[in-house]
């Protein structure tokens, strides 16, 4: 299945776009997604970040269904 990943801050600059489409196996976990992206883009794993699914931070064992809003959240620096 294809998933769309929203990118922000350093990741948006790294990939030069706001969103990234990625093909993943059905029921892929976020940990597997990390590894798949890291395999294609080694620089992805060099900046720490966390996954947000449907606007909530999720642990790496979360399994994607394919219809969620997925975002990669780099360390925040608002305020």
């Amino acid at each position: 299945m294809n998933v769309t990943i929203k990118l922000f801050a350093s990741f948006r600059e790294m990939f030069q776009k706001d969103e990234m489409e990625f093909y993943v196996p059905e029921n892929c976990t976020l940990l597997e997604l990390n590894r798949l992206i890291g395999r294609e883009y080694p620089e992805f794993e060099q900046v720490p970040g966390r996954w947000a699914v449907n606007l909530e931070l999720k642990a790496l064992d979360y399994r994607l269904k394919g219809d969620e809003e997925i975002a990669w959240i780099p360390p925040v620096s608002g305020g």
């Binding site: 922000f8 801050a9 350093s10 606007l55 975002a71 959240i73 925040v76 620096s77 608002g78 305020g79």
Partner: protein, 136 residues
């Protein structure tokens, strides 16, 4: 009131919206763009937010604060886009019948915004290069 906006924050207007006869105190915090960061001169800052998640985080902070203190309103407004030195990047306002609760909730809320809200800043230094001082 919870907002992410790309225009200047109208502080008197926000405060007028949350005033109520039952309140004896409104505590505010304004985060402004500073002209230096870790020893380097800063010329401007660009803020960006994951807006729906940031707004959700503001509402979560509001619920947390209302569990902890007897306050009547908590407003969090964060600006995005390019800001110059001295401009207000964030406004937190907590109103309550008494000052201790308003002050405590206001301090708590800005700490939580900095901790959990998906908002990022990029600091620009030299006019020529506009290069990044530090990573986000």
């Amino acid at each position: 009131m919870f907002l992410i906006i790309d225009s200047p924050i109208d502080v008197p207007w926000v405060l007028s919206q949350i005033s109520s006869p039952e309140n004896g105190a409104t505590a505010t915090f304004m985060g402004t763009v500073r002209n230096h960061s870790q020893g380097k001169p800063v010329r401007k800052i660009r803020y960006e937010a994951y807006e729906p998640m940031a707004l959700k985080s503001f509402k979560k902070i509001n619920l947390e604060a209302k569990v902890l203190w007897k306050i009547s309103d908590l407003s969090i407004i964060h600006r995005v886009g390019m800001l110059s030195i001295g401009e207000i990047a964030v406004l937190v306002a907590a109103s309550a019948p008494h000052r201790a609760e308003a002050l405590a909730a206001c301090g708590y809320a800005i700490d939580r915004v900095k901790e959990i809200s998906p908002i990022w800043k990029k600091e620009f230094i030299s006019r020529e290069a506009e290069k990044l001082v530090f990573s986000y």
